[in-house]
Structure formats: C-alpha cells, structure tokens
Symmetry: C2
Subunit: 578 residues, 2 copies
C-alpha cells in the first residue's frame, strides 16, 4: 500500500485529553480520531490491527468448536427484566425510548440475548455442549470516558457464552476457554497475568481476569513471589504476614475520654500515641441497593477495621451477597444512626449489624468513638462491650501481605483487564427458563459460562505495553503492516522500480508493506515511521541505491543494518521470523 | 463443518409475522432469529453469507482506492445540528439522552461523521481525491419493521463517501463507484436494474438506485421497452402516450350545479357521465415542514390533477424544494382554507398557490368543486376563472406512459433497493466548512459523493429473487457452504471415512462443505438440504457405497446424477464451475 493512496495523518502534539502513552500515540499516529468523548473513528491502520486481532480470536475459538453469530446491539427492556438486570445494571446501561414509546437499551453484555437466542432450540441433552460467540459493538454510558479506547463508550468486544448440561461439563468448557485465552494472549507476545477476580454484576462463582501488565493499567494486582497465585486487589485475600498478638492478657474497664478536634485516625494516633494498626475505625454503609425505588429505608450496617487498613467494598458486597458495592452513609445519616458526627462514632450501643475485619479480631482494650461528639472510649472489647455480627476478610490486601498459598509475599503490579472468564452456573438458566430434557427425560436447567475479550481495548493495551519515546512498537501478530519502506526519492524512476520489486518480494511471504511515497524530507519520514511503529523499516533512496547500500532497521531494538540490495529481503524475513 | 458441531435449527412453519418468501425462508432455515421487532440475531450460516458479501464489497471498493475505516454508531447532537439534519431527519432518527443529559442519536447515515473525520486533514488539493468507506451497523427507528432484514431497525450497511476538488473529479468518482457497484451486483449473478431515483434527505442532484428485481420488492420501477431508461416511480417523468386535445374550441360560462352525495371522482364520473381523465381533482397540502416547532402556520397550497391520475408527493416536494414530501391537510384544515368539505372543493376563489399537473394544462370547460358543500362548477377554465402558479409534472407515471428518451413505452417492475449512489456537490462541505487550498492557494469547498449498499438487505434480497417452493437457492458468491453432504449413516465407520475423504478433496479447491451427520431420517435431511439451499448436495449412505452409486444433486435445477465414487468430486467441481 502506498501512503498517498490511503488516509494516514500524523500529529506532532497529542491532544490535551490524552493522559496515557497509548492514547497519545494512537491519536498522534492518526489511528483513531475522537468524534465525541468516548466515541472514536478507527482509521484504516487501526482497523487493520483490529481485524487481525479479531482473526486471532476466531482461529483460537473455532478450535474449541465455538460458533460465531451476531446479536443485536439494541435490546428491548422486557428481555433485561427477565433477569432483573434492567434495574441492577445501574446508570452504565444506556436506556432510551423509541418513537413508539417502547423502552430499549444499548447492550453492554449479551447474557439475556444469547439465552433468548438458544432457549427454544437447546431442548435435549444431545444438543449440548454449545459455545456461542460474537464480535460486536458494545456500549457503556461512562460518566467520564478516558484513556482513548481503554475506557470508551462505544467499543468492540468478543463475547462467548457456553451451555453445558452439568457443572462438570461447564467447568471443562471453562478450562477450554481459559486455555484458548492463554493461546490468544500468547500470540500477542506480551506480558500478562491471569488473576482471580470479582464477578461484578455478571454473577458466577469462578472467574479469572486476563491482565496485560502496564504501569498505566487501571487495575491493581497482587502476585505471589513464590507461587502462581495472582489476584485483582478487589478480591485478593488479605493475610497479615505476621499474626498480631495482643500484649493485653485481661479486659480493662471501659473509660470515656475527651478527644477534642480528633476527627481522623491520624489525629487519634497523635493524641494517644497508639499506632494506627492498634486503633479501630468504624465505617457506616447502607445495604439498601436502591433497586426498588419505593424502598427508601436506610438498612445501615457498620464495618470495623484497624486504623491502618482500608475497607474493600467488593469484599463487603460479596459477604452481604449484594449486587453492587454498598454506598457509605452520608454524615447526616451517620448522625441519625449513631447520635454523633463521623470521627466520634463507634460500635458500642449501636442497634445495627456490625461486621469486623479479621484484623480487629485479635485486638483487646482498644479505642473507638464514643458516639458522642468529641469523645472516644478506651479499653473497649468486642464480645463484652458490643457484639460482632460476623468476622471476615474485609480489608484491602497490600504489598507485603502473605501469599494465600505459600509463605511467600505479595508483590504489586498494574494491569489492563483485556479478558475475563466467568463460570455462571444456572443463574441465567433459572431466571430465563433455560431448560433441557436429560437422558431420563427429566427437565433440568443448563449450566452457563461467559467469556469476554475487549477487542479495541486489547489493541490499545498492546501499545501501552509496547512503545518507546518515539512511538509504537507493534507486536507482529497485529501490526497493521509489517514493513515500512521510506521511499526517499518517489520521483526517481529507478528508485521507484526498486521499491516496487522489493515490495512484491516481501509480499510473497504474506508480509504487508506500506510505502511512504510522500514528497517529504527523509527526517520527517523517519519520525513518522518510528511513530507508526511497524516492525521493520527499509530506507530506499537514489544515493543508497547508487552505492548499493540499503538501510534496514529493527523498530524495536533500533538496530540498523546497511546491506547490499541482494541481502535486503533475506534480512527482512529474518527480522520477521521467516 | 459438521452439523452437530455448529448451531443450525430448522423450523417447519414460518412465523406469523413473515409476509414474504425470503423472510419466511431465513427464519425457517434458522439463519436469523428475532429478538424484538426489527432486531435479529444472525446465526452462524447467515453470518457466513454476510461476511462473504462484505468481502466482495471490500475487493471491489479497494480496486477503486477506497479506504476502509470504522466510524461510531452513536453520534452527538451537535454534529447533526451543523447540517440541520438533527431536525430534518424526522422520527426515523433515534435520539436519546445519556446519563449526563447530553443528546445523541443512533446514526442512520454518516455524512456528518465522515466530514468531521477528514475536515482537519484534507487541507490541500494534493490530498484529493479520497474515498472513505465503512461496513457498519445502522439504526432506523421504523414504526413498523417488517420483511425481516429488508426493513429492520438495526441493519448493516456499507457506506462510502468521496471527496474531490471539483465537480469534474466528483462525477468521475461517481462513475467509478457506479461501475464498482455494477461489478458487485454482477458477482451475485442476479437480475438487477439501475434506475433514476430521488435523493431523499441525503441531498444531491445526481443519483441512481441499484434495484434487485423481485415481485415482493417495495419499490415500483418503470423501464423503457426501447432504451436503457429505467426509473423509480418516485421520480419517473409522466408523459402521456398520446397528447390530449380538448374537443372544446371556446370557453363556456361557468355554471354551479348541485352534486348531492358526490364525494369522489368515481361518484362524479357516474353522476355526469364525463370520464375521470377529463375531470379535475384538487388536493390540499401544507408547505410547513414542522422543522421549526414554533412555526404553527398552515402554508396551504393546492395541487390540480386529472381525476384519473395520482399525485406524486416526491415530485411536489422537489418542485417546492422541500426537505420531505408535504403533508396533506386534514379535513378541518381543508374546510378552513376552502369553506367546504373535501369532495366539494376546487381552485376557484382560493387565496393560496395552485400547482397543476401537465395533464390539466390542455383541459377546457372542466368540472371542479364549488367550495360549497354539495355543489360543483362546470365549464371552469384556468387563466380565466383562477390562476395557476406553476404547471409541472406532478403525477405518478404508470405502465404504458411514454419513455422519456424514445417513442417506447414504460413497463413496470418491482425492485428491492440494495444500492444507491449520490452526487452531493458542496452541500455538506458548505455546511461543515469542508475547505481546502487549491493550486492557487485559494480556499475552496470540496465536492462530495456518497454511496450506500445495504449489506444485510442485499443478502435477503438475493433469497427473495432466488428460491423455490422447497427453500433457498443461494448464489454461489455468498452461499454459506457450497456443498451439503447428507451423510445417511453417521454411525457407519466406512461411510464416515468416505465422507471425510470426500470433504477434504472438495475443500482442496476452497469449496466449503457442510456434513449433515445428525441421527435423522434421510427424508428429513433432504428437506433440510433443500431448505438451506447450498448449490450442490451429495447423498452418501452405506447402501449407495456398497453399490458404488453416489447421488449428486444440483440444488437449482434439481437434476440428479448417480455416479460411481471416483466421478463424484469431478461432478461437484463441474457444478460449481471449477
């Protein structure tokens, strides 16, 4: 392909809304262009990379007998009401009314649609297993879209949905998809981790995320330094490296004491000289999820943590079997429940459920708010002074925590979630009457799994992991073109003839070539070649041809080879791996 | 591909909402499944046909240096306001507000989006010509979606947009695209016509529709029996085969006469004995397009036609340079304007513009409504009794009308519009500041064209034209599979071994094979093979193999060949054309 025959435009400056390198580079290289926040046009080059990644997805999924279909983007409300997700999905699900006043949404996921698609046809155990996938546009009404394709509104996903007759079959399918995903991300040749994760409002009991490692990743991961254990911080078990043993052997009498102006754990630490990790903080949440708009009740509960720990809302959600993480009470609501302002509140005397993190369990004779402004209580002990409803792991894990599988320690990474596999069980089958007749003629619910890969997100994530100060370094598997010929003298006939011959020879092995035939200065062309980032660059000019010296450059290593004409193609094939 | 490894399900009965053969067949063969009215899931087989058609589109467009990109489905209101089409597009443009209360639409077409995409990059005359296309989901909020993929809400289109520096270049590009479209539809091997058409609210002065011929087509076409002339009835010039000459030589005095109960032309014909073609009817419309919601004025005008003719609202729209066809006045509005109920109204004494069809011009001493209930006027003559604002071609053309290019006659056809090419001129460039610097450094507006092909619609239209009472007859170019092997004894090892060998041999020439390996009766499999409609069927059973007699069937002609094993592959290649 000749540059002048396509539509490529590069920019010197990244737009002001681009915060991370991959977003800046995609825009600067003209791969994407913003129509509105979170809405991008994919240019010819970006589309080539996307299509190549789609084909990798198809190849690996078809190996597992997954069947490609295409479901609508627009769904009727009635479909989502069958699973209650019309309400549960929250404001991210974009809803609208059509001209006939019927309600619809732009689908963010397709569990309901796929069950509707198969539920009249999968009737007998002989119809299983089935694994149905699509590569389709999705929509999430992000409040603040950012990071380009990473957190956009309109994006492309590959989503697969599996149907099995029992749990054993479903877990076998889960395993096949897990391995297909490994093959897919292996083919990109990038660094990734498979981590334990939360199922969000998809539901399901077993789930793993595929995370491409990158400093700008939105997800915090913790990885064992001894085993294969890796988890998203959202669900990572928090285990103290050294168990705490209280120095107190007996429970002392409770005392109220004045703590004027002490509103935070830091204040209290300063005032009392007791370290934060031996203080107890009380947080207040509501278990009312707001799914029933008529239900305005507060349903308050408290969570106790050591002063040095952070609450993990996902763990609280999962403990209480909620659909979404609970909302914290407002200051007014806290006062209504405790009688005091936040900063002076504690668990003693409350009439609400109290959940305590594991870290609070071994503490004795500790300090908590007195539920009276400006006062705290010391020598408080659970069991004696108040009752804990349940002790559980409710804090955020952190670097240095113990590995749950060994005596190793956890190390932090940042990741970009590019894939996610879920074992769903019978959740959707039960809500949507997904039944089949088993071998004995008995009606049973089938078991499902769902499996997503962010197509456009992965393409950008590759760049986030693979770039340098000059531009993109495309993985060979999805690079729009493999070879970038900087044709320095496009008006020179013999140079052009050589470029044409060279292009054809390289194309014999199905490597794709872009020829920069613009009437521009060499330095300008080299800069653009680095920015676009195809694996191999060849520089062809009249002067080089006269001296029989052609420059071949490895984009990744910047290594330069000055070769006679007859050695060029061989070097290109060598650099590309065949 | 084995039937049991994919997800194909056939139905005995078509759903009650399917009115035309192609819709019935697509559903019965399990190619599509309705999620909600106008929203369909494309099954594995349909998707294969769609992808093949998409590849034909890409191949032919890339030959013309068209560049594929992908633009968003969701567009912000501000974009469409630049061209006033936010209001002009009418209720078919689905609009919604997001969670931040910003307004968006689901794009039905992408002129605005593509101009926004290129307007900062196409700066110099050297950047032209450019032709940018995409294959993307489109949405139209149809009130009554019907005919399956033919008039759905969500559908797939290929839309291309060309940019040239002047009209000469733009018309050259138009011609290239016209020829590319011919090649595309030629490759389907189906009957189509290229007809003159109306530009609708896309705008533009030159436009052709590509119409696949089919009895169930929604468009009425008129085609010359002498020349290449063909037009959509919406724009077809209406020329009387024999010009009318009035028998009257002088204008007689007007007389009012009672016509109790005569409300229609047929009533009047009966009452007076004068044939409809010599009577004059008056229709009332409003020129208020409702684009400005504050403007509630009526802006009434009248259209005169012979009693035997039908008004063509598109011609009226174009004469008055309106954006959409005008709305007829309600009975109350007619009474307000004329003082009488429809049926007794006429042009005499009205204070509104009056447009007359060519057919009215030669009439003399004719009858019109008296604008008084129950009365008509006879011996009315324009010029004397009332003034015509403009005489024009305003009636529907019909079978037997004169060909505008010869002394031939027009013949009617029904067609399905599958493609449309428009020359747009500077309409969008002017509204969206699409400028470039010409050779002299002067800023100029560029010239555009736009070119659409309904992807999913074309796939269904192929079936509408190519089927029989037993099922689909796929055109070879887009058939999901080429060969359908009915494997009658899937449990027999040697039969299965033969089927495997046969499949591999056929696949060596890149023909695709579906093997029906279900545990079903032969008759059931044959019926499904006819329904699915792949070009060649092979029947393999234990018995046939023992007698060395394999059945090969041509789906289209139903011709059956009974052949020894060694002759099967050769016959298949012969039937498929290589």
């Amino acid at each position: 392909m000749k540059w002048t025959k396509t539509h490529i435009f590069t920019l010197k400056e990244a737009p002001s809304d681009a915060e991370i390198p991959s977003h800046k580079l995609l825009v600067r290289a003209g791969f994407i262009k913003k129509l509105a926040p979170g809405l991008y046009t994919y240019g010819a080059l970006a589309l080539k990379a996307i299509r190549k990644f789609e084909n990798i997805l198809r190849e690996e999924l078809n190996k597992e007998d997954a069947i490609e279909v295409l479901m609508p983007v627009v769904h009727p409300k009635e479909l989502w009401e069958e699973t209650n997700r019309w309400g549960e999905m929250g404001a991210g699900l974009l809803k609208f009314k059509n001209r006939n006043n019927h309600e619809f949404c732009l689908a963010a996921t397709h569990e309901e649609a796929v069950v509707d698609y198969v539920r009249h046809e999968l009737k007998s155990y002989r119809d299983f297993p089935k694994n149905i996938y699509q590569i389709q546009t999705k929509y999430r009404d992000e409040i603040r879209p950012r990071f380009g394709l990473m957190r956009g509104r309109e994006f492309s996903m590959k989503d697969a949905y599996s149907f099995d007759i029992d749990q054993e079959g479903a877990l076998k399918t889960y395993d096949k998809m897990y391995k297909a995903y490994q093959r897919i991300f292996d083919r990109l040749g990038l660094q990734y981790r498979i981590v334990q994760a939360d199922a969000g409002n998809i539901g399901g009991s077993q789930t793993h995320e595929f995370q491409l490692l990158a400093d700008a990743g939105e997800d915090a991961l913790l990885v064992s330094d001894k085993t294969q254990f890796a988890a998203n911080i959202e669900v990572c078990p928090a285990i103290d490296p050294v168990p705490y043993v209280s120095p107190h052997t007996s429970e002392l009498p409770v005392e109220k004491f004045a703590t004027p102006g002490a509103k935070t754990i830091a204040d209290l630490e300063k005032l009392t000289g007791i370290p934060a990790k031996e203080l107890v903080k009380t947080l207040y949440f509501s278990a009312n999820e707001g799914l029933d708009p008529k239900d305005k009740s507060l349903k308050a509960f408290a969570v106790l943590l050591r002063g040095s720990d952070e609450v993990n809302p996902i763990k609280v959600k999962n403990l209480l079997k909620m659909t979404n993480p609970p909302l914290m009470l407002t200051d007014e609501e806290v006062k209504e429940v405790t009688g005091a302002n936040p900063g002076s509140c504690g668990p003693v005397g409350l009439q609400i459920p109290i959940y305590a993190d594991n870290g609070v369990q071994p503490l004795k004779n500790y300090i908590v708010g007195a539920n009276e402004d400006g006062f705290h209580l010391k020598n408080v002990n659970h069991g004696r002074d108040f009752q804990i409803t349940q002790v559980a792991d409710l804090r955020m894990a952190r670097e240095g925590d113990k590995c749950p599988e060994s005596d190793g320690r956890l190390k932090p990474y940042r990741g970009i979630e590019v894939g996610h596999v879920f074992y769903l069980g019978q959740k959707y089958a039960k809500k949507m009457n997904g039944v089949f007749l088993d071998k004995n003629g008995k009606s049973q619910f089938y078991e499902m799994g769902c499996y997503g890969i962010g197509v456009t997100r992965t393409v950008q994530a590759c760049i986030e992991q693979s770039h340098d100060q000059d531009g993109i370094i495309w993985p060979k598997a999805i690079t729009p073109y493999h070879v970038h010929i900087c044709h320095l003298d496009p008006k020179d006939e013999s140079a052009t003839a050589y470029v044409d011959v060279l292009t054809k020879e390289i194309e014999t092995r199905n490597w794709e070539v872009l020829v920069d035939d613009r009437d521009e200065r060499p330095g300008f062309k080299f800069k653009d070649a680095d920015l676009l980032g195809f694996p191999v660059r060849i520089v062809v000019g009249k002067k080089g041809l006269e001296g029989n010296q052609i420059e071949v450059v490895n984009r990744k290593t910047k290594e330069v080879f000055k070769l006679p004409k007859e050695a060029v193609v061989q070097k290109v094939f060598e650099l590309l791996g065949n």
